[in-house]
């Protein structure tokens, strides 16, 4: 492999890894607060892609306005799912809410099939993102180049929110102890909503970056990336945001190099081997804490 090719693959790997990281943060944050694996998260990411098609293709709204519409509608979708499918089960056994999440996932996939048909739809081109950049020998599209920058930027802002703001402190408290958090006067539902807003915002962002260089969207387009990001979150230690980001980058890079080495069919399998290996040898992931049942 030449140096140029190597750099090219690195960039591609970091870029897809950044997108995985954005989505993995959504899994890990919701888990951190609710101890729920939000199986619908990948499908929310898919719906965000359809929202973009809706806005840009069907209504011909300029891309920058469409992008904000996509972000807002994705957040609303996430909040709606939380209110209808998860919040009524707050005091039920944890398995019920997991099953509800799986149900929502199927519901979104079938809803998308029903509304938009199972045929792949073309994702609209965002002109600025599709331009080509050249650095010496390495050439790449703008979207590939800015994805890791956006990821890191989002991560820094997110960590600042969690470490420095009042709501961030409340999130950390709620993730440890619901009842005592309530005794501080924290409203659990507000904290949960904020968590979903952040997760869906990042999923919408990830969706735009993911689908821009790809030809099409279809109702199951969210499930494989969703699963990979879930693995990224588990790998990093579910509940840990830096862990999820690291997991995302790692899976993106490995997958890209496996493809580059000519084992494309194997690249998705790799993710699941990684999952099994993590669960076998280090179930708490890289930065995970020892799991204690919450009281």
């Amino acid at each position: 492999m030449t140096t140029t090719a190597f750099l090219q693959y690195c960039l591609a790997g970091i870029s897809i890894g950044g997108i995985y990281a954005l989505i993995a943060i959504g899994y890990t944050m919701v888990y951190g607060i609710l101890r729920l694996i939000n199986f619908a998260h990948g499908d929310i990411f898919m719906m965000a892609a359809y929202f973009m098609i809706f806005a840009m293709v069907d209504f011909m709204i300029p891309w920058y306005i469409s992008a904000s519409i996509v972000i807002i509608s994705t957040i609303l979708l996430g909040l709606l799912i939380e209110k209808l499918a998860y919040s009524p089960l707050r005091s039920s056994p944890r398995m019920s809410i997991m099953i509800s999440a799986i149900g929502v996932s199927f519901l979104l996939q079938n809803l998308a099939t029903y509304l938009f048909s199972a045929l792949p739809k073309q994702y609209p081109a965002i002109p600025v993102l599709n331009k080509t950049l050249t650095f010496g020998e390495v050439s790449t599209s703008v979207v590939t180049f800015i994805t890791p920058i956006i990821t890191i930027g989002a991560l820094i802002i997110l960590m600042a929110i969690i470490k420095k703001t009042k709501i961030g402190m409340a999130m950390r408290a709620v993730s440890k102890d619901f009842q005592t958090a309530k005794l501080m006067g924290i409203e659990i539902n507000t904290v949960i909503s904020v968590t979903f807003i952040i997760g869906c915002f990042l999923a919408a962002l990830g969706s735009m970056l993911y689908f821009t260089p790809r030809p099409s969207v279809f109702p199951l387009a969210g499930s494989l990336p969703g699963l990979k990001c879930f693995v990224a979150a588990v790998f990093g230690g579910i509940g840990s945001i830096p862990g999820a980001v690291l997991g995302g980058f790692l899976i993106g890079l490995c997958e890209t190099f496996i493809k580059a080495a000519g084992y494309s069919e194997f690249s998705d399998v790799f993710t699941f081997i990684l999952l099994i290996a993590v669960l076998m040898f280090r179930p708490t992931g890289l930065f995970g804490e020892t799991l204690a049942e919450k009281v």
Partner: protein, 234 residues
């Protein structure tokens, strides 16, 4: 200032509170004692809206707060220091203290109260950057009390503040309870340590399997034969 009338609580099939009535008057320290599993913690949780009440009512400052959510109750100055400390282990001491003032917006007053609790518990100030989970048990209990004080309680309810602490620290905690009370905070105290609790209390209630069996002034209860046998080990 706090009046509970005929409170019933069920946990599934268990009838944990079977008609509790008690009242806390202004300026007083009231204690609630009883054996393990009598329903003391349940009473406080029901007052705070943490566990659903089957029936009965809670009046605070003359208002019926039975249906209020926990946040509004806390905002009104009714604050519970939960059993077993329950500090947030990953948060620093300072962050735990800041969370105690979560519902308040008066920044200057919050800063003043923070100074005050650090004066009450100098050990906490020395350790304000430390993760609360790394404090000793006694320090965690101090933090739990300090955190509650940050909510500006009008009525502070403490669930077994002396649990698992060395006698010297217990003494310290009790003298601080008296001090807090002198500073104008009403106190409702739950204790296993019946003697120490009754000694500083104006009035006491004794609870057995979900009902209040005896009540009286602290002094009377201390010399009550039944209580001496059952709770004071004499």
């Amino acid at each position: 200032m706090l009046e509970i009338k005929d409170l019933h609580v069920h946990y599934g099939g268990i009838h944990a509170l079977r008609g509790i009535s008690l009242s806390v008057e202004y300026g007083k320290i009231i204690s609630l004692i009883g054996a393990n599993g009598a329903g003391k913690s349940t009473t406080l949780k029901a007052i705070m809206g943490l566990v659903p009440k089957t029936s009965g009512s809670v009046f605070y400052d003359g208002k019926d707060i039975s249906a209020n959510n926990t946040k509004d109750i806390v905002k009104g100055g009714l604050i519970l220091t939960p059993e077993g400390r329950r500090v947030f282990p990953d948060l620093t001491v300072d962050e735990n203290i800041a969370l105690g003032a979560y519902t308040r917006k008066d920044k200057a007053e919050i800063a003043r109260d923070r100074k005050w609790v650090f004066e009450l518990f100098p050990r906490l100030e020395e350790r304000k950057w430390q993760a609360a989970g790394t404090l000793s048990g006694g320090e965690q209990q101090m933090l739990a009390v300090a955190r509650s004080l940050m909510g500006r309680p009008k009525l502070l309810m403490m669930d077994e503040p002396s649990l698992g602490l060395a006698p010297l620290i217990v003494k310290n905690i009790f003298s601080i309870i008296k001090e807090i009370n002198k500073a104008g905070v009403n106190v409702l105290l739950i204790e296993q340590n019946a003697k120490a609790a009754l000694e500083i209390s104006d009035y006491g209630y004794v609870m057995e399997t979900g009902v209040i069996t005896i009540s009286g002034t602290g002094k009377d209860l201390l010399v009550n034969d039944q209580i001496r046998k059952a709770y004071l080990g004499e």
